[in-house]
Symmetry: C2
């Protein structure tokens, strides 16, 4: 049902032995979450990466997450499967809904690529694991500037969720960090580049080719491509 | 990874055709959630049952959930697998932690049968499905009177979670119903009995025998057995 990759790193052989506070980092293998992983480390946390396989069509993301986790030398990388495709409702998890192309991101309300309650589900799993690990910190790469209009990327949601889980957990508190919340894609890319992130390892496309090449035309590709242009950073993405 | 059972009922052949508002009911196959399913129906909702396989050792619950859903004639019954056993931390999902026996429920703090953030994860999945179904109502059988001291059964948690998801969903709102929150186990059993619930179909034991017989000694068995005694209702449970 799911697998645990053992990252090749010093910390994986000495879990928790770094002396740093543990943090769970939701890692999709995309540009944002990979940047957040680097930020968590830069802020002095020992990162534990959680990748959720939620039935997304773009499973090439999972491969990217494994590459990123191994390269970052996380203390642990866990993969949990939860088949949101089972309940349908999104172009990202259903073969019956097309991924829109050449559409201006953020226009026209909530797009069909919205996965119902996805971030709620992802954060629930992250706080569950944080509690087991004794971590009080969870990092998520949501962004409400250059984004697609998903309601569960809004800071108000994250703050309310943090208050709710504090009441529902055995742990005293969980802090939800969303360091990208107020940044443009270009700002994210500049920050990650300063931290040494290799964006060639990441993937953002909602509809990649079987070889993993990005379509260049979905919302995620449009936002990513513009981000590199605006940041003045070379785009390492392979497009079809 | 998961299965969808097709309940034998009139409504399953005409999904959504009852003209009643849809509600998602979290159904474990236990005493509480089975009662809640009957309550949802009695309150005028068209129930859609959601069973989450979260890696619990007592998988006999899943069989109970299927029996209950079929007997109740739900409009649909979905099963979603999410392997919380992957992240460990509970006697209910780990072979390495023993289910305590002959322990007074609710004493000694949060017990080892607590599954980290379980209700947070269950509710996240329920609201995701509710959104897809166009349902504004989710029912959960949590209880904070005769309970084991799990923090995510508290009404304060449920209220805070309701506020959070309202901000994170495309839907205008989701109401979280916890009709058992303030009831004793005996009151739950009396209410369900009035509604015609057949508790012989349900299972509560955390450590059942391979045949499905209840151990009679875990927290869940102790609470259930006392409930039937106090309610003056015959206990249909098969004990080892």
């Amino acid at each position: 049902m799911n697998e645990c990759t053992a990252p090749e790193s010093e910390s994986s052989t000495q879990p928790g032995g770094t002396g740093l506070p543990r943090a769970v980092v939701l890692l999709s293998g995309g540009l944002d979450s990979t940047t957040v992983l680097a930020i968590a480390r830069a802020r002095g946390f020992e990162p534990w990466a959680l990748t959720v396989r939620y039935g997304q069509r773009h499973a090439v993301e999972i491969d990217a997450a494994r590459r990123v986790a191994a390269a970052a030398g996380v203390a642990g990388h866990e993969e949990i499967a939860v088949d949101l495709g089972r309940i349908g409702g999104s172009a990202l998890t259903s073969d019956r809904i097309e991924v829109p192309k050449d559409r201006e991101p953020g226009e026209g309300g909530i797009p069909v690529t919205y996965v119902p309650a996805r971030n709620t589900v992802l954060l629930s799993l992250a706080v569950a694991w944080a509690e087991v690990l004794g971590a009080e910190d969870v990092f998520i790469g949501v962004n409400s500037i250059d984004y697609s209009g998903y309601p569960d990327c809004r800071p108000e949601f994250l703050e309310a969720f943090e208050r709710a889980v504090a009441l529902g957990l055995a742990a005293d508190r969980i802090r939800i960090h969303a360091p990208l919340a107020e940044l443009t894609k270009a700002e994210i890319i500049r920050w990650g580049t300063e931290l040494g992130v290799d964006y060639a390892m990441t993937t953002s496309c909602y509809d990649p080719s079987p070889s993993g090449a990005a379509c260049g035309r979905c919302e995620a590709c449009i936002l990513r491509r513009r981000g590199f242009e605006e940041a003045g950073v070379g785009d390492p993405t392979t497009y079809v």
